[in-house]
C-alpha cells in the first residue's frame, strides 16, 4: 500500500508552476479583452472572464482527480478512452449543436463540450499504448500503417464538422513517430509535400510538373552509377505529380471557402475585396501598436474596440501584444518554450516507453497549437482557428489541455514505481 501523501511526492513542480502561470496570465488577458467599466466583477459569469474563472476552478478539480488515480490505470484505459472519443466524434456529427456553422459541440443546457478537445489526449494515450507494445517496430509497414490510422482517424472525423484547424492538430503526432525511430526521410517527405502543396497553389500546375520532371531527369543523370536508383526517382516523381493533381481537388472540394480565402490571402494570391485579410491585418495592427513595452494592462484599445475578431479565443495573443508589447510577448513565447523543453526532458527520463511516448505526444500537440496560433496572429500562417493552450477562452480546450498535461505529470511522478 502506498501512502496517500505520496501523491504529491515526485511531482514535477516546475512544470506545474509554468502551467499555473500561463493559465493565470491567460485569464488576465481574457479579462482585458472583454473588460469594460460597466461590468467588472471578476466572478460575473455572464462575462467571459467570469466563465473562464469557473473553468479554471473546475480544471483544478480535474487535476486532483487525475493525481489520485493510480498511474497504471492510464495505460489500461488508453484504448477504451480512444474508442469512447471516436464514438463521441461520430455522435457529435449527428447530435451536435451547430455554432457558427460547425457541428462541433454537445450542448447540455447552457453549457457545451467540444469532443475534439478531449480526443487529443485519448489519441495520444492510444498511440503511446500501441507503440509501447512489445515487439512493435516502426520499421514494419503494418506498424506504420496502424500508427497513422490511430492518429488520423479522429482527424478524419473532425473534418466534416467542419473544423479543419482541430483536424490538423493530429498531424503533430507525426513528430512522436519521428522520436520513436521513424526515418527522418518521412518527415522530410511530409515537409516536401507541404512545400509542394503551397507551390501547386502558387504556380501553374503545368510549369510545376515540367520543373519537377527536369529536376528528376537531372538527378537520374547524376546518379546513373547507382544501380536501379532511377526507379525510385521516377516513383517519387509520379507521386509528386499525382499529389499536385489532387491538391487542386482537395483545395476546391474539401476546404471551406473561408479557409481557401485565408490561404489565398496568405499566399498573396488574392486581392482582398471582402476584407477577409482584415482579421490578420487588425491582429497585426493590435500587436504592432503595442510597441516595445506595450500600452499597459487594460489600456489596449485596438482589442477593446473589437477591431480584432475572436479576440478572447483564437486571437488572444493580440491582447498580449498590444498591452504588454514586445517585451511581454517575448516573455510569453519563452515561457512556452521553457515548458516544452521541460516536457521533453521529463519524457526522456521515463523508464516506460508508454510514458515517454505519451510525453512526446503532449509536447507535440502543445507545440503545434502554440506555433500555428501565434504564427497566424502575426501573419505567418493562415487564419486557422485553433486555441492557444491555457490562454484562449473556452472550457473544453482548457479542460482538454489540463488533462493532457496532468496525465503526463502523473505518469512522471509514477515512474519510480515502475520496475
Amino acid at each position: 500500500m502506498r501512502n496517500s501523501n505520496s501523491i504529491f511526492q515526485n511531482l514535477d513542480w516546475f512544470s506545474i508552476f509554468l502551467f499555473a502561470l500561463l493559465v493565470l496570465m491567460g485569464w488576465a488577458n481574457i479579462y482585458a479583452a472583454v473588460y469594460n467599466e460597466e461590468f467588472n466583477s471578476i466572478f460575473d459569469t455572464t462575462q467571459k472572464y467570469g466563465k473562464q474563472m469557473l473553468w479554471i476552478a473546475t480544471a483544478t478539480i480535474i487535476i486532483a482527480v487525475i493525481l489520485f488515480i493510480d498511474g497504471s490505470l492510464f495505460q489500461t484505459l488508453a484504448y477504451p478512452l480512444y474508442i469512447l472519443s471516436i464514438i463521441s466524434l461520430i455522435l457529435v456529427l449527428f447530435l451536435g449543436k451547430e455554432i457558427a456553422g460547425a457541428r462541433s459541440w454537445f450542448a447540455f443546457g447552457g453549457f457545451s463540450l467540444q469532443p475534439s478537445e478531449f480526443a487529443k489526449f485519448a489519441t495520444a494515450l492510444a498511440l503511446a499504448r500501441y507503440l509501447s507494445t512489445k515487439n512493435i517496430s516502426l520499421k514494419s509497414w503494418r506498424t506504420k500503417f496502424t500508427a497513422l490510422l490511430i492518429i488520423f482517424l479522429p482527424s478524419l472525423l473532425i473534418v466534416p464538422q467542419p473544423d479543419p484547424g482541430s483536424a490538423l492538430v493530429y498531424s503533430s503526432l507525426l513528430l512522436v513517430l519521428f522520436r520513436e525511430g521513424l526515418s527522418g526521410s518521412y518527415i522530410f517527405f511530409g515537409f516536401g509535400l507541404v512545400v509542394l502543396f503551397v507551390l501547386s497553389l502558387l504556380v501553374d500546375k503545368l510549369y510545376l510538373i515540367i520543373i519537377l520532371a527536369s529536376l528528376a531527369a537531372l538527378t537520374i543523370i547524376l546518379t546513373l552509377r547507382i544501380k536501379n536508383f532511377y526507379w525510385s526517382v521516377l516513383a517519387i516523381l509520379l507521386v509528386a505529380v499525382a499529389f499536385i493533381q489532387s491538391v487542386d481537388y482537395a483545395f476546391y472540394n474539401v476546404l471551406e471557402d473561408r479557409h481557401r480565402d485565408r490561404i489565398n490571402i496568405l499566399l498573396g494570391k488574392e486581392y482582398d475585396p471582402k476584407g477577409i485579410g482584415y482579421n490578420t491585418n487588425q491582429s497585426m495592427i493590435a500587436i504592432g501598436s503595442g510597441g516595445l513595452t506595450g500600452k499597459g494592462y487594460l489600456q489596449g484599445t485596438q482589442t477593446k474596440y473589437d477591431f480584432v475578431p475572436e479576440q478572447s479565443t483564437d486571437f488572444i495573443f493580440c491582447t498580449v501584444g498590444e498591452e504588454w508589447g514586445f517585451a511581454g510577448s517575448s516573455v510569453i513565447i519563452l515561457l512556452f518554450i521553457v515548458l516544452f523543453f521541460r516536457l521533453v526532458q521529463l519524457a526522456e527520463r521515463q523508464k516506460s516507453a508508454f510514458s515517454r511516448i505519451y510525453g512526446y505526444g503532449v509536447v507535440s500537440i502543445f507545440f503545434f497549437h502554440f506555433a500555428i496560433n501565434i504564427a497566424m496572429t502575426i501573419g505567418l500562417a493562415p487564419v486557422i482557428g485553433i486555441p492557444l493552450p491555457f490562454f484562449s477562452y473556452g472550457g473544453s480546450s482548457l479542460w482538454g489541455f489540463t488533462i493532457l498535461l496532468f496525465i503526463f505529470i502523473k505518469l512522471d511522478a509514477y515512474r519510480m514505481q515502475i520496475l
Binding site: L175, G288, F341
Partner: protein, 621 residues
C-alpha cells in the same frame, strides 16, 4: 545528434522566428504603430442606391431619398448637453436615456443604432453640432421616396430584414432594408445593388481623419438596377379613385402580353406611410385594421366564387366536348328544375334561347343544362367531372399562376375525388354539383385569375402568364414563362361564338347601360352569392372586341349585382385606357361618389349582434 536534440533545435528556431517577427512588427515597422489613443478605424457601410421603379410609360413611381442613422458607441460617450441634443433631434430626455441604455445593453464597445432614419432636413442642423457629442456619428441610409399616393400594393415597401430572413441570407446584415411586399420583394435581387464598405480613421472626437490604408480594404457600393413595371400609373390612379369607399379589386391585363396594367385593391394606403421614423407605428395601424384590411391585396389574395362570368367557360367546354352547339336551345321556366332541386333564374325569357342569347341574358337554366350535358356525356359522373375539371384548369384556374407577384392564391376547382370525399359515396350525379354550371358552389377564383380568364377570351384561347415586370435595367424581359403563350384545351374556333355573346352583353344584355358609343366592348356580368352578406358585384370584360388591348376583371364586394357597380367601372376603365379621356361624365361621377360604406356598416352590426347572441362578445357596462 540524438533525436531529442532535434526537438530542442526545432523549438528554439520557431521561438526565434516568432521573436524576430514580433520585433519587426512591434518595434521596427512604423506602419502598425497606429496610436490607438488618437486613431481608431471605423467600418462604415455604404448603402447603395436602390433601383428606381418606373411605370410602363416611364413615369417614376419610386425613387430614393437620403436619411441618416445616428450611431453611438457608448464607451466613447462623454458628458454632453442633453438638452441641446434632444432639442435638435426632437426627442424627450427620458427617451434619450432609454435609447442610450439600450445601446449599452447591446454592447458597450460596439456601435449601435441610436436613432433610425432621421430625415435629411432634420439631420442637417444636427450635423453641424455633431462634434460636440463624442461617441455619436452618422451613417447614411437610403430611403424610398414615393411619387404617387397610389399603387402601394403593387410597388410594395421595404423594411428591416427579420432575424429569420437573415439566417437564410448570409449576404445581408442586421439593419439592412429589404423588400417586404410587392415589386420590392419580387425584384429584391435586382433592385438591391451591393453595399460597399469603407474603413475610416477617426479621432477621439469622431472626426474622420483619413481613409484606412488609402482605402485598400474599401469596396464601392453598386447601385441597384432600375426596373419598369407593367402598370400604367394613370389607369391605376383612376381605378383607385373609382373604387374609393368600396371594397374589392380591379385587375387589368394586356391580353397580347400578359402584362398587368392595373392592380387595384380597395381600400388601399399611402405608401409614404411605410418610410421614416413613423413606419412601425403606421404599419401596425394598418395591420390591426381587421375590418378594412388595407394590407390585404384583394386582387391577388381574395378568393370569390366567380359567378356568372364562369358560364362562358362552361359554354366553351360544352362546345369543345360537342355537347353544346350553336343550335342547341333550352327554354327557361324561371329556373332549372330537377326533382326537388330548383335553381332560380331571372333572365326573363320563356322561349327557347340559344347560346348567344344565353350569354347576354345570363340564363341560369341554360348553363345548368350545359353543365349537366357535359358531365352526362361520360358513362359515370366521375369521368365527366374529371374531364370538366381538366378543361377548367387549363384556363389558369384552381392553380397558382406562378408569376412575379410575391403573393397569390390557388383558388379552387373541384374534381371527382373531391365530391367522392365530400358526399361520402360515389354514385352522385351531375345535378349534385349543378351550381358549378353557374359559377357557384365550391368554385373559388382570385380577381387576377378572373382577369386572366378575360384575357383568354380576348385572345381566343390562350394566355400569357400575368406579370408585373416590363423591363429590368434597360433590357426587355426574356423570361420564357412570360413570353410563351399557354393554350387552353378548347379550340380557338369556339371562342368566336362566345365573344359574340359577350359583345351582346353590352349591346342589349345585362351591361347595356355601360355601353360605349365608339368602343366595341365584350363582357360578362356576375352576381356572386356570398354567405357572409350581400352579393358581390362582378364583371369581366375586354375591348376593343376585334383587337383587344385591355382585359379586365372587377369585383366590388357586397355590390349587389354585376351591372350596378362592376360593369360601369370596367367600362370607364377601358375607355380611360383606350382613349385617355372620359366622355361619360355622368356615369363617372356616379361611380366616383358612390359609396358602400352604409352597406359595410350594416353588415358589421349584424355580425356584432350575431356574436352577441352567441355570447362571443363581452359587453361591459
Amino acid at each position: 545528434m540524438k533525436r531529442q536534440h532535434l526537438f530542442y533545435f526545432f523549438f528554439t528556431s520557431i521561438a526565434l522566428v516568432f521573436i524576430a517577427r514580433l520585433f519587426y512588427i512591434q518595434v521596427v515597422k512604423k506602419e502598425y504603430k497606429l496610436s490607438a489613443e488618437n486613431n481608431v478605424v471605423r467600418k462604415v457601410k455604404i448603402y447603395p442606391g436602390r433601383g428606381f421603379i418606373y411605370d410602363r410609360t416611364g413615369k417614376l413611381l419610386v425613387g430614393n431619398q437620403p436619411a441618416y442613422d445616428l450611431m453611438v458607441v457608448p464607451r466613447q460617450v462623454e458628458k454632453l448637453d442633453t438638452n441641446e441634443f434632444c432639442r435638435l433631434l426632437s426627442i424627450s430626455k427620458e427617451n434619450f436615456q432609454e435609447r442610450l441604455n439600450k445601446a449599452k445593453a447591446h454592447s458597450y464597445i460596439k456601435p449601435s443604432i441610436f436613432l433610425k432614419q432621421i430625415s435629411k432636413d432634420q439631420f442637417a442642423s444636427f450635423q453641424e453640432k455633431l462634434h460636440l457629442f463624442p461617441g455619436f456619428y452618422h451613417q447614411k441610409r437610403i430611403l424610398r421616396n414615393y411619387q404617387y399616393k397610389s399603387a402601394a400594393n403593387v410597388v410594395g415597401f421595404i423594411g428591416e430584414a427579420s432575424d429569420r430572413f437573415l439566417k437564410k441570407h448570409s449576404e445581408y446584415e442586421k439593419g439592412d432594408l429589404i423588400g417586404i411586399t410587392g415589386v420590392e420583394k419580387s425584384y429584391e435581387d435586382v433592385l438591391r445593388g451591393r453595399p460597399g464598405v469603407s474603413y475610416m480613421m477617426v479621432d477621439v472626437h469622431n472626426r474622420v481623419k483619413s481613409s484606412f490604408q488609402n482605402g485598400r480594404y474599401d469596396t464601392l457600393p453598386q447601385p441597384g438596377s432600375d426596373i419598369y413595371c407593367s402598370i400604367d400609373i394613370g389607369l391605376q390612379q383612376y381605378g383607385e379613385a373609382l373604387m374609393q369607399n368600396k371594397r374589392g379589386s380591379i385587375v387589368a391585363l394586356e391580353p397580347s402580353s400578359g402584362e398587368v396594367l392595373a392592380l387595384i385593391t380597395s381600400p388601399n394606403y399611402d405608401p409614404a406611410l411605410m418610410i421614416g421614423r413613423e413606419r412601425t407605428r403606421n404599419y401596425n395601424k394598418l395591420y390591426i385594421d381587421s375590418i378594412e384590411k388595407p394590407l390585404f391585396d384583394r386582387g391577388l389574395l381574395a378568393e370569390y366564387p366567380p359567378g356568372s362570368p364562369f358560364k362562358v367557360v362552361n359554354a366553351l367546354i360544352g362546345l369543345q366536348e360537342g355537347t353544346l352547339t350553336e343550335k342547341t336551345t333550352y327554354t327557361c321556366r324561371h329556373g332549372f328544375h330537377y326533382g326537388r332541386l330548383h335553381v332560380a333564374c331571372h333572365c326573363g325569357t320563356n322561349y327557347p334561347i340559344s347560346l348567344r342569347t344565353s350569354i347576354s341574358k345570363s340564363c341560369n337554366n341554360f348553363y345548368c343544362n350545359v353543365f349537366r350535358s357535359i358531365i352526362e356525356k361520360y358513362p359515370t359522373a366521375q369521368e365527366g367531372m374529371d374531364t370538366w375539371s381538366k378543361h377548367v384548369k387549363s384556363f389558369g384556374l384552381g392553380k397558382f399562376l406562378n408569376n412575379d407577384l410575391p403573393t397569390g392564391r390557388r383558388g379552387f376547382v373541384p374534381d371527382a375525388s373531391y365530391y367522392d370525399n365530400s358526399f361520402g359515396y360515389t354514385n352522385w350525379k351531375a345535378v349534385s354539383a349543378i351550381s358549378l354550371g353557374i359559377g357557384q358552389g365550391e368554385l373559388l377564383v382570385t380577381p387576377i385569375q378572373l382577369a386572366n380568364l378575360s384575357a383568354i377570351i380576348a385572345n381566343r384561347g390562350y394566355y400569357f402568364t400575368p406579370h408585373i415586370i416590363k423591363e429590368i435595367g434597360g433590357a426587355p424581359l426574356s423570361d420564357e414563362n412570360y413570353a410563351k403563350p399557354k393554350y387552353t384545351t378548347v379550340d380557338s374556333i369556339y371562342f368566336e361564338k362566345i365573344v359574340d355573346g359577350m359583345f351582346d352583353v353590352f349591346e342589349k344584355g345585362t351591361a347595356r347601360w355601360s355601353r360605349h358609343d365608339s368602343i366595341p366592348m365584350a363582357g360578362k356580368t356576375g352576381t356572386a352569392e356570398n354567405p357572409h352578406g350581400q352579393d358581390h358585384s362582378i364583371f369581366v370584360a375586354f375591348a376593343p372586341v376585334d383587337k383587344p388591348q385591355i382585359a379586365i376583371a372587377i369585383i366590388v364586394e357586397n355590390g349587389y349585382w354585376g351591372s350596378r357597380w362592376a360593369a360601369p367601372i370596367a367600362s370607364l376603365m377601358m375607355e380611360k385606357y383606350l382613349t385617355g379621356k372620359i366622355s361619360r361624365r355622368e356615369m363617372e361621377k356616379r361611380m366616383l361618389e358612390g359609396s358602400l360604406a352604409d352597406e359595410y356598416e350594416k353588415q358589421l352590426e349584424e355580425k356584432y349582434h350575431q356574436k352577441l347572441l352567441a355570447g362571443g362578445v363581452d359587453e361591459k357596462q
